[in-house]
Symmetry: C2
Subunit: 64 residues, 2 copies
Amino acid sequence: MKNKKIKIARVEADVSQEKLAAMVGVTRQTINLIESGNYNPSLKLCTAICKVLNKTLDDLFWEE
Amino acid sequence: MKNKKIKIARVEADVSQEKLAAMVGVTRQTINLIESGNYNPSLKLCTAICKVLNKTLDDLFWEE
DNA sequence: ACAAAATGTCACTTATAAATGACATTTTGT
DNA sequence: ACAAAATGTCATTTATAAGTGACATTTTGT
């Protein structure tokens, strides 16, 4: 189950996986894993991603 | 920096740390660490806690 | 006041998020 | 069509979330 919401928000912000990774202080592979789904990132990383993309946790990481 | 929001939500739901831990499938110590702060739980655990307490990620885990 | 329940915290172990380096494939721009 | 950038994915290592068992302290109910 892919996380499309992050990818959409990232593309809207016009940043590559590598750029987003640098902005939040992780590697490109970690961002790739999150967008690929089947991954369980830490709260801090989720929060960091939200802040650089101007979204909230509910926007990007909440699943019914 | 303690996470008061979780503790408040937990007490409102009238469950002990141990009960909440059982409800989300972790140990009491893990819940204790989260409420104590200075901890970085996984997204899945955050989501599980939100669901059993009828809250959202933004409710319990969003800072500023 | 007392016992029981709940909480705080410790040391140690186990599971897994995240890092690293690499290479193949896909997408994008000219 | 071509090169460069971006993405997907692998194997291995490192950092840390979470588990386990234990004991001390605090809170709660009677």
